[in-house]
């Protein structure tokens, strides 16, 4: 058996098991830890597909930065005492999820064949490397969306500060 087949099946199995953990764990901290496991496994799948830049960014941004956000917020909100799963929606969610899966399968199997293939064949990619190929496209064809993404990050930062700030004036009046 080839190495990438073993890598795919082990990463995929661990990703699905961890995803079940994310959805069904009662304690929210266990859910976040399962999310870290899922993200690292998906990053491993990216590496096995030959997308090294995205795999590294996945670990750096998702598995470190975003999960730290979640852990910080969970540590400030007291532990959730109620029921984790709503049983009346659970029965409803299974057929909806199955329908969504069928729809996704239909679209991805019949849609992808109609698309045009790009210029980055395996020979070209082995010559220039994945990182150089992605950054060439990112900084030429998608330069304007890249700048807009930086603006979105700035807006999100200001929004998070404004939303998370305490109402200073109200607190002072309560003290008086």
């Amino acid at each position: 058996m080839e190495l990438d087949v073993i890598a795919f099946w082990s990463f995929a199995a661990l990703a699905v098991i961890s995803a079940f953990g994310v959805v069904f764990f009662k304690n929210i901290i266990y859910s976040v830890l399962s999310l870290i496991s899922t993200l690292i496994m998906i990053s491993g799948l990216f590496f096995s597909m030959g997308a090294e830049l995205i795999g590294a960014l996945q670990i750096l941004i998702y598995a470190v930065a975003i999960v730290v956000f979640y852990v910080l917020v969970i540590s400030t909100v007291p532990q959730y005492k109620g029921e984790a799963i709503d049983p009346k929606y659970f029965a409803l969610s299974l057929p909806v999820g199955f329908l969504l899966f069928l729809e996704l399968a239909y679209v991805s199997v019949y849609g992808a064949w109609a698309s045009n293939t790009g210029i980055f064949t395996p020979e070209v990619l082995s010559e220039v490397g994945n990182v150089k190929a992605v950054s060439t496209i990112l900084f030429s064809k998608y330069l304007f969306p890249f700048e807009v993404a930086s603006l979105i990050l700035l807006v999100a930062m200001i929004g998070a500060i404004v939303l998370g700030r305490k109402e200073q004036a109200m607190d002072e009046e309560e003290v008086k």
């Binding site: 597909m49 917020v73 400030t76 909100v77 899966f101 399968a105 064809k141």
Partner: protein
Amino acid sequence: MVPYEFYVALSGLLMVLGLIGVIIRKNIIAMLISTELMLNSVNLAFVAFDMKLQDVSGQVFVFFILTIAAAEAAVGLGLIMAIYRLKKDVDVEKLTELKY
């Protein structure tokens, strides 16, 4: 080589699990975490189609999705903190101001 359909099927499975999580969880933070799962399944599908179509534009889009996910987590968790400070609760069954 593993065929790309396997990656796409895995991505669909993760997307369905994330949707089920959004539907059934009652804690609002757990719903946001399930949304992250759905975003990741989209990333996986983008890179799988890149592998099949011999292009790298999908990986550029994954880069943008990572950016948007960071912004979404920052704003969403800021909103949850504001809601918690107002209502002292994170149960979606009790956050029903907009319903009436």
